[in-house]
């Protein structure tokens, strides 16, 4: 599903990732952990194709990200959901519109988009807030909108960057349960987190990054 080969990435003089090689199988649930600045976000952004490595290459479903055109990359992104640390919601659009935007780009019929969006909002427990604007939601609710947008297109891969970073323990459990249910449906889930508590609660494969290097890869 996801294969990384000798990835190197740097920002100016700072080396963000150094010689990272790993493989995530289809349907796996993986945590990427490590201290701040370890390269977790960079790794996820490289897998998503938001950035390019200086060296090495990435295969997603055997497709080399370095060799695909911009339009093909756009089509590939429709199969990958990304939950951003800062949510990246549009404040001038309602919750419904923020989620539906991921389907708008596919050109599917409006009726189908409405149905799928409502189903997804129901799944994340926000069906009563579809007409509300993101800024009037709590942090946890905004996080769920971001998750809804990532999963509404039924992605084969779900990447989440610190999805519980700003949430209290109850909300964290709620969100993790949501990721669990998405994983149950066969989606490959990769979550970047620095929270040790989160890792203690669950029994999934954990990849440890330190200083941009692979420091451990454990199947718990």
């Amino acid at each position: 599903m996801i294969q990384l080969f000798h990835l190197f990435k740097k920002y100016g003089p700072h080396i963000a990732l150094s010689d990272i090689s790993l493989r995530v199988a289809k349907g796996e649930f993986v945590f990427v952990t490590g201290p701040s600045g370890a390269g977790k976000t960079t790794l996820l952004r490289l897998i998503f194709g938001a950035e390019k490595p200086e060296r090495g290459y990435i295969l997603i479903n055997s497709v080399n990200l370095a060799r695909i055109s911009r339009s093909k990359q756009a089509f590939l992104r429709r199969k990958i959901g990304f939950v951003f640390q800062d949510f990246k919601l549009l404040p001038q659009r309602t919750v419904f519109e923020n989620v539906a935007i991921a389907l708008e780009v596919t050109g599917e019929p409006t009726r189908w988009i409405r149905k799928k969006t409502r189903q997804t909002l129901e799944l994340v427990g926000l069906d009563d807030k579809e007409k509300v604007y993101p800024l009037s939601l709590s942090g946890g609710e905004q996080q769920r909108v971001a998750i809804a947008r990532a999963i509404v297109k039924a992605p084969v891969i779900l990447l989440a960057d610190e999805p519980t970073g700003n949430l209290d323990p109850d909300l964290t459990r709620e969100i993790m349960a949501l990721f669990g249910s998405i994983h149950q449906k066969g989606t490959t889930v990769v979550i970047a987190t620095h929270s040790r508590d989160l890792l203690e609660d669950v029994a999934y494969r954990t990849i440890l990054l330190q200083g941009g290097k692979l420091a451990g890869d454990t199947c718990a």
Binding site: F48, A74, V105
Partner: protein, 297 residues
């Protein structure tokens, strides 16, 4: 392209215009002003060309006679003109008639003519050939033959005046193209900046659209449509303003170069279509340039 996509693009383009209404209204106003200058020039040019063309359909001569010309010599000039081929209208204007004509033309400004000690105006023959006959004639040869007649002081031919006017019109045409070109550049510049502002306004949304898998064209098309809509509006408003202006002036008597009241012509369908297409084309060009320069996601 699927119908839903098309409605999405149109909706998005209209939403962008609504969200940046002030910028678009200002841009539209400047576009209309620029196109209006161009349109007025086009209208002026079309009318002058039509008048000159109409004028050019007749060939006229003014043969000025020397003062104190004998009746015999005058009869010879008269006979020469009458024997010229083709149907023509001939009129003899005596010195006295010429003065009366001049006074009528000058109207209230003619008072100074009464103070002249003698009538300085020459007697003349004015004749013109009927419409459609001029192409069989050689104006240059007729003028030369008339000039050589004894008692003739000067000969003026409409063809020469017409040629002079054509030279002026050619010059005006060149100036028109230059001014038109500059105005087009101005419109493109305005449109580019209008779209640039919309791109900046939607920067976050564009970023998110890219992240959820939108293709470049999916994001770019509403901006292109925005330029086209702006062009359509500017073209339509310009034509409307030109029609209103034309209807206002068409009800008034227009005099040009001392000629009698002239009929004002409006732009032909071809000219209107050209103006409209230029407007739409410039709007689209502005969008294309803005996307090329500022669409970096």
């Amino acid at each position: 392209m699927r119908i839903r996509f098309r409605t999405y693009f149109a909706k998005q383009a209209l939403a962008d215009i609504r969200d940046n209404l002030t910028v678009h209204v200002l841009g539209l106003g400047t576009m209309v002003s620029s196109l209006l200058i161009f349109g007025v020039f086009l209208l002026f040019f079309v009318n002058i060309s039509s008048w000159i063309h109409e004028w050019g359909n007749t060939l006229s001569f003014s043969v000025y006679l020397k003062d104190g010309i004998s009746a015999y010599k005058r009869d010879k000039v008269d006979a020469f003109i009458r024997q010229l081929p083709g149907e023509k209208t001939l009129r003899y204007i005596s010195k006295e008639d010429a003065m009366v004509d001049l006074k009528e033309t000058l109207g209230s400004d003619a008072a100074f003519l009464n103070r002249l000690s003698r009538n300085p105006l020459p007697a003349s023959y004015e004749f013109f050939f009927e419409r459609g006959k001029k192409h069989d004639l050689n104006p240059k040869a007729i003028k030369e033959a008339l000039t050589e007649l004894d008692g003739v002081a000067d000969v003026q031919c409409s063809e020469e005046l017409l040629n002079n006017f054509k030279a002026i019109m050619d010059m005006l045409e060149s100036i028109g193209f230059l001014v038109g070109g500059l105005l087009c550049l101005c419109v493109v510049f305005i449109m580019t900046n209008t779209i640039k502002l919309t791109i900046f306004y939607r920067k976050t949304e564009i970023e998110i659209l890219k992240l959820v898998g939108a293709t470049d064209w999916f994001i770019k098309l509403p901006f292109l449509l925005e330029g086209v809509i702006q062009g359509i509006l500017a073209g339509g408003l310009t034509l409307l303003a030109l029609v209103c202006g034309y209807l206002f002036f068409a009800t008034k008597e227009v005099h040009f170069l001392g000629m009698n009241s002239l009929d004002l012509a409006f732009l032909s369908f071809g000219h209107m279509a050209l103006l409209f297409l230029i407007s739409v084309g410039l709007g689209l060009m502005g969008s294309v340039i803005a996307l090329g320069r500022f669409f970096k996601v």
